[in-house]
Subunit: 137 residues, 4 copies
Amino acid sequence: VPQLTFTQSFTASLYDIDAAGVMFFAHYFRHAHDVYEAFMAGIDQGLPELIRQQRLLPLVHSEADFLRPVRHGDQLLVELQLERIGNSSFTVRYRFINAADEEVARLKSTHVLLNPEGGSPMNLPEALRLRLTEYAV
Amino acid sequence: VPQLTFTQSFTASLYDIDAAGVMFFAHYFRHAHDVYEAFMAGIDQGLPELIRQQRLLPLVHSEADFLRPVRHGDQLLVELQLERIGNSSFTVRYRFINAADEEVARLKSTHVLLNPEGGSPMNLPEALRLRLTEYAV
Amino acid sequence: VPQLTFTQSFTASLYDIDAAGVMFFAHYFRHAHDVYEAFMAGIDQGLPELIRQQRLLPLVHSEADFLRPVRHGDQLLVELQLERIGNSSFTVRYRFINAADEEVARLKSTHVLLNPEGGSPMNLPEALRLRLTEYAV
Amino acid sequence: VPQLTFTQSFTASLYDIDAAGVMFFAHYFRHAHDVYEAFMAGIDQGLPELIRQQRLLPLVHSEADFLRPVRHGDQLLVELQLERIGNSSFTVRYRFINAADEEVARLKSTHVLLNPEGGSPMNLPEALRLRLTEYAV
């Protein structure tokens, strides 16, 4: 099984930075979701199509450790891997790395697949599970 | 006809402020929309119910003059009035006033009522027009 | 010692809701921070003054459990309490409660007080510790 | 003189879309600013360095026409050109184009260069003026 890492870069923008001069903590979650959307578009049909089919994958948990401050103009690489793949849920791990190759933040988000009727958890389709497994830690 | 003004206050938050130390311009539009939502909830059924009924009022134009910088912790009063009420559209005016009673920004947004079938403009309901007229400049 | 809870309410706005029809997860962190800013303004000098004095309290960890979907127009009460008060750090807990009195989300954020010179952790001032303790779980 | 256009693309994300199912109007201004930051990084020292030098270029006016709805997953190209270059200010024009080559929105923002001492407008440096002129409409 290959051990892949999905990566995407961004530059901390004027409005990512708050009145204390560093990236506002909630914006890390927003940037992580941008990476997740790009990842899902590559391995599956992408979120817009999943939502159209009512195959919703809401977050049930998310957490972050903020290790170093991020300043305006900092270039960050985000590395996405799958930390856990369960029957109906999976946990995505994001590492934010700066230009000095330091880890500035580490995030995790757990998504669960809901049944369109009723909203209870349902098993991940086998095709999706296989693609996710390629990116397992 | 009464000449009413709808008002709402907020304090410029940590994340309203950007890396240049002042409120990021796009956040004025966000705050103006918060005032618009509260206004519409008071004079009509509110946006959630309008959207449920597919009576959509999208913005077709918006503009702003930024007159003075806003800093972290500044307390701002937003005054909403109707600048123009047309057959199928209306223009809302927002004045942002700081604690020294100075106007810090002036915004305008034009909304148009769309027909659920087809999406072409349709006449404003008479009840809505009457309520809007109370807040006309 | 009194057992206080700081509370603040908000209504889920048009732009809190995402393409899946529910409140976007990063916006919970933003709303929690609004409550934190109001809380700190009440018990201490408030964040703008703390930042001016270079007494920074950055977040080092944050996490959330999302228990129920939030829809456009939902009225939410946020209850803030202190889960832990350490020497140089404290953990704030936020419970988001809907109009049916159901807990829809639970967040935690850990802040650490940094020394203006050097940025290493420093002891919380006794006055701040005492005020925080009033809101301890 | 060349007639250049600076372009950048993005995909409308889950959280760009609001409860009405279309891109929230304030997010167009945010995306336009992302393009502006990338443009300024290419022709000048970039905003982080300008802010460090206290050479601030705040917005004094911004406006937008919203021509067509944008949905989740839509791929948009933003074209940036200079509509006007004055002594101390300039107006940037942004055209948002969808995958069907339709213009979905048109924005304008006017920036003014402020003197670090006093904050009054000052003349644009000749080097900046020359680079801006290459992108004049």
